[in-house]
Each structure stands twice: as C-alpha cells, then as structure tokens.
C-alpha cells in the first residue's frame, strides 16, 4: 500500500534537486527567448538566406521529438565533434531545451508582431524613428502583451521537458525519483512525489502569469 511516511521522507531529497530543474528551466527560457527574438526578427525582416535557415531551424525543432534532439546532442554529436565529449549533460540539456523552445517561442513572437497593425510601424517611421527604435518602443511592447500567454505555455513545456533530461545523465527531480524508487521498490510513492512537485511548480508559474496578464491588460 501507499507508504505515506516514505513519500514524505523522500520529499526533501527531491526538493533539493529542484534547483537543478529550475536552473535548467530558467536558463533555457532565457536562451530560448534570445534565440526566439533573433529568429522572429529574421522572419519579420525577410533577410535573404538567413530567412530560409530560420525556417528550416523552426521546422526541424518543432517537427522532431525533444528526446531525440537531446539524444542526438548528447550521444550523437560527440562521435563527430570530439569537443562535445567534454560537455556535460546539464549543459546539453540547456542547449537542447533552448533550441527546442526557441523554435516554438519564435513562432509565438513572430505571430504577435504580425498581429500589430502595420499603421503602428508607419506612424513610427513617419515621425523619423528608425526601424529598430520603432520595434523597441512601439511594436514589441504591444506584441509582448499578445505573446505572453503563449510564451508562458512554452515556459511550462520547458519545465516539464526537464523531466526528460535524466536520460542524458542529469540528476534532477525525475532522476532522483527513479533511483530512490529502484532502491526501495516504492515506485508509486516516488513518482507520485514527482508529479506533485511538477504540478506545484507549474501552478506557481501559472499564478505569476495571471498576475502579469492582469497588470498588462490594465496598461492601455
């Protein structure tokens, strides 16, 4: 039967590993957003050459499973490029999740930018602003409001995606559960804990999302 004491005692062990999960998530979100912004700009400006590359990147990372991307980076690449032998699972996890979420978020940002009436850009140019000034001061602040719900979705997917990184040797919450479960044969309690932890973390960020959305909808 469900051993409540075992489950409760296991909790602190897993919470300790939460910092790994959260650092992978937040770093991947940060790098993913940077990638997404660059890709969205390339797609928006239709830079020749770069545009096709960006399209291939997005279709590749959206069109293949995250776990195959992680395996490819962790097990595949070192065979071709020896340098990757020295890169640990933690780093590969961040690279993989950043590239993967970057593809999704770039679509969200691109969509949000193109949802902004083109009169906003024309008005900015007509008073003498440059393209980048217009983007920074007028277009992006408006696009952000449109993109926030979708971006938070991507962020939640990143958090949940970290559960896959135990397969490339990262000792995060999921890996701890697996190891503890294996040593005590109490898989039920171990994975129930994992589910609860992920659920609480995601709820927490959903709450932050709500607060941000309310704040932004008040703005104008």
């Amino acid at each position: 039967m469900f051993d409540i004491n075992y489950a409760i005692n296991l909790f602190p062990f897993m919470i300790k590993k939460l910092n790994i999960t959260l650092s992978i998530s937040l770093l991947s979100l940060m790098f993913g957003l940077i990638i997404a912004l660059i890709i969205a700009f390339i797609c928006n400006c239709k830079f020749k050459g770069l545009y096709s590359l960006a399209k291939i990147y997005v279709s590749f990372f959206r069109g293949t499973p995250l776990i195959t991307q992680l395996f490819f980076l962790y097990f595949g690449l070192p065979q071709i490029i020896p340098f990757f032998n020295r890169v640990n699972g933690f780093t590969i996890a961040i690279i993989g999740l950043s590239l993967n979420s970057g593809a999704y978020m770039s679509e969200a940002i691109r969509g949000a930018i193109s949802s902004i009436d083109k009169g906003q850009m024309e008005a900015s140019l007509s008073v003498g602003m440059s393209y980048f000034q217009a983007m920074r001061r007028i277009i992006m602040p408006q696009a952000a409001r449109v993109a926030i719900p979708t971006l938070f979705n991507s962020f939640i997917n990143i958090i949940k995606g970290t559960a896959l990184t135990f397969t490339i040797g990262v000792t995060e919450v999921m890996a701890t559960a697996k190891m503890e479960g294996a040593s005590s044969y109490r898989y039920f309690e171990a994975f129930a804990n994992v589910i609860i932890i992920y659920w609480i973390v995601v709820q927490l960020f959903s709450f932050i999302q709500q607060k941000i959305e309310i704040k932004m909808s008040k703005a104008y």
Partner: protein, 243 residues
C-alpha cells in the same frame, strides 16, 4: 522649398503615379482632390517614403534626393523634414496622448524628457486637449485621436505636414473640431499638403487646389478658380458629381 519632379510609382503592373511635378512654397496650404484610386494618398506616402517611388526627384527643405539612387541615410533625413497625419490616426496604442506627442522628441531629436514634456503640453494646449494628456488612445474619441495625431505631427516641427484624408474615418459631427485645428495651423503659416474629400474646407482653407486623376495632376489653381470656373473637362465632371 518643396519640389517634386517627374515622380513615378508602380505597384506591380499598376501605374499609380505617372510623372508628378509639384512645387510648394513655405507656408502654403495645398489641398489635393480627385476621384479615389488616382494616387493622391500614394503621392503623400511617397513624400514620407512609406512607399518607395520608382523614379523622380523629391526635395523637401534642405534635403534633395534622387529616388532612383537613394541611401537609407538620405531616406531618414528626408523623413525628418516631413510628418504625416493618417486617415486611421495610427496613434501609438501603448503611449498616452502626451507620450504620443513627445515620442519623436525623445527618441529622434534626443531632447530630454522634461523639456519634451513642456513642448508636448504646449502642443496639447494648442489642440485643446490638455485635460487628456494621460489618456491612452483607446480612451479618446475619433476627433480627439485625430487631433493628437496632428499634435504628434506638429511635434516633429517639420517643413511640411502631410494629411492623408484626415477626416474620412470620423463621424460627421466630429469633423469640425479636426478641421478647426488644421485651420489654426494654416494661420500659423504651417506648410501643409492635404488630401481630403471635404470640399467646403478645401475652398475655405486652401491657398491652392490640385485636381488629380489617373496618376497625374490635371489642373491646379487657386481654390476659388478651381471650384467656380474649372478649365479642364475632367475637373468639371468631378466637381459636378461631388458638389
């Protein structure tokens, strides 16, 4: 002061401007009339380089460019000499009324915020919207939005303000307040190029009226002469229809 020579513009196969020649003196108010689809708006948008002309010379103030051979730098310099008032206002939605006016002062002219606000408040006073300074565009009526649009164009302190059908999307009872602001500007010797369907306004405020049809200037003259005794057949037919 403003000189346009042989301006041509095509959209794919459609020739919209077929050799426009026009000179505007400082302080002149020019109204462009004509049937829709004759390139009136395109002409204004070319002057502000929201559309790139195919060929021709544009000279505004101290900036003269050959549109067939133009650099990015020249385009932005030319743009700084004019500003535009749009049919659909296009106010910056994420900025307050005052910020809409001060935006170009702060980002383009690099004037510090306090000084910019002082200029902005002065402009708001001129357009009679001082009490709306902290309102966002979504909280303003159409007429108020367009007056802010004019205020934003004034802040640039341009050689010329281009008006692209400024009253066409307004409820009839709101047209007057916008036209009053434009008339007040005319009295201050602001150079203006106005595309409009408000014939009464054209007659009253314009120093010169230009009739355009099928991408060409057909006739230009003082307002009284154009409206009372147009010389060209096409002008006559158009005015008979709209007056």
């Amino acid at each position: 002061m403003i000189k346009i020579e042989n301006l041509y513009k095509k959209f794919n196969d459609l020739e919209v401007l077929k050799g426009i020649n026009l000179e505007i003196k400082k302080g002149e108010v020019i109204v462009i009339i004509g049937p829709s689809g004759t390139g009136k708006s395109t002409l204004l948008r070319c002057l502000n380089y929201l559309e790139s002309p195919d060929s021709g010379i544009i000279e505004i103030g101290n900036m003269k460019i050959d549109t067939e051979n133009v650099t990015k730098h020249e385009i932005s310099a030319l743009r700084r000499n004019s500003s535009m008032v749009f049919q659909t206002y296009n106010l910056f939605k994420n900025k307050t009324a005052l910020e809409n006016i001060t935006e170009s002062l702060i980002t383009v002219k690099k004037i510090n915020k306090q000084k910019a606000e002082k200029i902005g408040l002065n402009i708001l006073d001129q357009i009679g919207l001082s009490d709306k300074k902290d309102n966002y565009p979504s909280q303003l009526s159409g007429g108020q939005k367009q007056r802010i649009g004019i205020g934003r164009a004034m802040a640039v302190n341009p050689e010329v303000i281009l008006f692209d059908e400024p009253t066409s999307s307004l409820d009839p009872e709101l047209v007057g307040e916008v036209l009053d602001v434009i008339k007040a500007l005319a009295e201050k010797n602001m150079t203006m190029l106005i595309v409009t369907h408000e014939m009464g306004f054209a007659k009253e405020a314009a120093d010169r009226v230009i009739f355009m049809d099928e991408g060409k200037i057909i006739e230009e003259n003082e307002a009284d002469i154009i409206f009372d005794s147009p010389r060209n057949e096409r002008t006559k037919r158009f005015l008979n229809k709209v007056l």
